[in-house]
């Protein structure tokens, strides 16, 4: 049953694989290649974090949450501004202690937000068309974008996790000049890994996690055995809010907290298409593939194309993910790890 569709997927994988090693074959130095790959992987981790929020909500409520990007922005703004204001309010030292307290408060804010969204948006729309819910989340997006700036301000803010921005050079003995990696990216990777591990345990091992998966499968049956849908929705939106907060913190520390964070949601879309809308590991792997693919195509394929077609510039990074997602939609619409629809006759 599954083998029938594997051919095209393998073909696509082989093409991607060849594309991946092509720069090496073309004689690019290994050290530089690894550096680009690592950079891509780390950017990919950040995409994964945003994609994770999508997957969580889609799994539990079948809603494609357009507002995930806005939630990232909102959470990051809350975190940045609270960390800035708290020392003045309660007199705790600025820097990491303030950031930690701000993180706790921002988590609380995201939980309250989840409750409000459930109450005001989801509950009245129960048993309506999925399209109605999609439109509702679109509304939430615009509300959060605007409202976030109303309370938190609309400048570019900094989140300082106390990590030096200086890159570290590793493996100097193996490659000429070594490989540059940034500590910030490393920390981000570790945070993402811990978060994913925590979520995996939560979903697989706890009663609430099981209930979430049950609701994702069949919400009527879940109701029939007494799983309260309203509570499940609050939980899942709160978890997605928390993931948005972590994503916002990491991205914000890297790029500064600004309006463009909300656009990340659009970058996460190809990631979930690639990995599968219902798969947490898929979101992670999808993010990594897209992160690496983007960087490699930008750095190595870009110059080749420019030379060959006499183009004005690169910019492959911007559309690469979407083309890849499109290919996947044609070949394997459920994504790499998405749940197949189980049909029995």
């Amino acid at each position: 049953m599954a083998t029938k569709k594997n051919g095209p997927v393998i073909a696509l994988g082989v093409v991607l694989g060849i594309g991946f090693v092509a720069p090496l074959l073309a004689g690019q130095p290994l050290g530089f290649f690894l550096e680009v790959t690592l950079g891509g992987l780390m950017a990919g981790v950040l995409y994964s974090l945003v994609a994770l929020g999508f997957v969580l909500i889609f799994k539990a409520s079948g809603v494609f949450n357009f507002a995930q990007g806005a939630m990232v922005l909102f959470a990051a703004l809350a975190l940045a501004r609270l960390a800035e204001w708290l020392p003045g309010w309660v007199g705790i030292p600025a820097g990491l202690p303030a950031l930690a307290l701000a993180f706790v408060l921002a988590t609380g804010i995201m939980i309250v937000l989840a409750m409000l969204i459930e109450r005001i948006v989801l509950r009245p729309l129960v048993a309506q068309d999925p399209v109605a819910l999609l439109m509702a989340t679109l509304g939430v997006t615009f509300f959060l974008d605007g409202f976030g700036q109303t309370i938190w301000g609309s400048d570019v803010y900094k989140i300082d996790m106390g990590i030096s921005k200086d890159p570290t050079i590793i493996l100097e003995s193996m490659f000429q000049g070594g490989i540059l990696i940034s500590k910030e990216d490393l920390v981000a990777t570790v945070i993402a890994a811990v978060l994913v591990l925590g979520l995996a345990i939560f979903f697989q091992k706890t009663a609430t996690g099981r209930a979430l998966r049950a609701v994702a499968d069949d919400h009527q049956a879940a109701q029939s055995i007494g799983i309260p849908l309203n509570r499940i929705w609050v939980i899942v939106w709160a978890v997605a809010g928390f993931v948005a907060l972590v994503a916002g913190m990491v991205w914000g520390a890297k790029l500064g907290v600004q309006f463009s964070l909300a656009q990340l949601a659009l970058k996460a879309l190809p990631v979930v298409i690639l990995g599968g809308f219902t798969s947490i590991p898929g979101a992670i792997l999808g993010g990594l593939i897209i992160g690496v693919g983007e960087k490699i195509s930008e750095v190595f394929l870009g110059p080749v194309l420019i030379k060959a077609f006499d183009l004005a510039g690169g910019g492959i990074e911007n559309w690469f993910a979407y083309v890849l997602a499109l290919l996947f939609l044609m070949v394997r619409p459920e994504g790499l790890f998405g749940e197949k629809h189980i049909d029995r006759v």
Binding site: A127, R213, D218, G226
Partner: protein, 278 residues
């Protein structure tokens, strides 16, 4: 036996009593037109009738699962253990021991059989050890589920899925199970197997059942009392044995006619049934 039962006050030992409920879907479609019946403590009561008679709607009205289908109880009352339950949430109802097993099994396809069962205990907040005790109890009734405990339930057979659905309901430690069309799409042998277990649960665990079935034969064999629904009304009720011997029931629901084969020229039966339904 009366063709149109009067609403009798619930006798002592009545677990569930439904009084003249009316259900409307989408604000316009009147599906139940005043349905009344009782389920005694420890009984197995069958709701019989053809497609679209209102059996599932009745069960959903009791279990409060109508809202998701845009249905609403507009008249009448539903009492469980002497208390009105018309305004409880499904969660509260399950906590009080009323669990519905839906038509078409509705297992969680991507969860393993055991995970399916475990979700049934969601409202009970059990410790791991107590959960295991409950699981073992369910496995004792459905040994077949134990051998398939790690399989994704979407890939198990129809009979196993029906067992999973009933086992899942059992995990909530119910006093009453609303069982909707358990025989649907199953081989006669499996149907008997499942009904034997239902009977077992009834006698050993004192679980009461409200059973909606199209398979009149099997349903009457295993239940104590039956109500026949047609077109949103109860048209007949009685002890299961007497219903099974009733000429009309035999002819309309069991496919057994009293005399020899009838010719289509003989329109009497059709008229009799029409009068009977009106």
């Amino acid at each position: 036996m009366s063709a149109l039962p009067a609403v009798s006050p619930p006798a002592a030992g009545t677990l569930l009593s439904v009084n003249g409920i009316e259900v409307i879907y989408n604000h316009v479609i009147l599906v139940l037109k005043g349905v009344s019946f009782n389920v005694p403590q420890g009984g197995i009561v069958a709701l019989l009738g053809g497609n679209g008679a209102g059996k599932t709607t009745t069960l959903r009205a009791v279990s409060r699962l109508l809202k998701g289908e845009r249905g609403e109880v507009t008249k009448g009352s539903i009492e469980y253990q002497g208390e009105r339950i018309d305004n409880l949430s499904p969660y509260d109802l399950v906590k009080r021991g009323v669990v519905q097993v839906m038509e078409g099994r509705h297992c969680f396809a991507h969860l393993s059989v055991e995970e399916n069962l475990l979700t049934g205990a969601y409202t009970r907040n059990l410790s791991r050890a107590d959960l295991d005790v409950s699981l073992e109890k369910v496995y004792a009734y459905f040994p077949r589920l134990k051998t398939r405990r790690t399989s994704q339930s979407g890939y198990t057979s129809g009979g196993e899925q029906q067992m999973t659905a009933i086992g899942r309901a059992l995990m909530a430690s119910p006093t009453m199970i609303l069982l909707d069309e358990p025989s649907m799409g199953l081989a006669p042998q499996i149907v008997e197997e499942i009904f034997e277990i239902v009977k077992d649960l009834n006698t050993k665990e004192q679980v009461s059942f409200l059973l909606a079935e199209q398979n009149t034969n099997v349903a009457l064999k295993y239940s104590n009392y039956g109500y026949i629904l047609e077109n949103g009304r109860i048209v007949m009720d009685g002890e299961a044995a007497s219903l099974a011997n009733n000429e009309d029931v035999k002819e309309f629901y069991l496919g057994v006619s009293s005399g020899q084969r009838k010719s289509f020229r003989d329109g009497k039966n059709y008229k009799r049934r029409k009068r009977w339904l009106a």
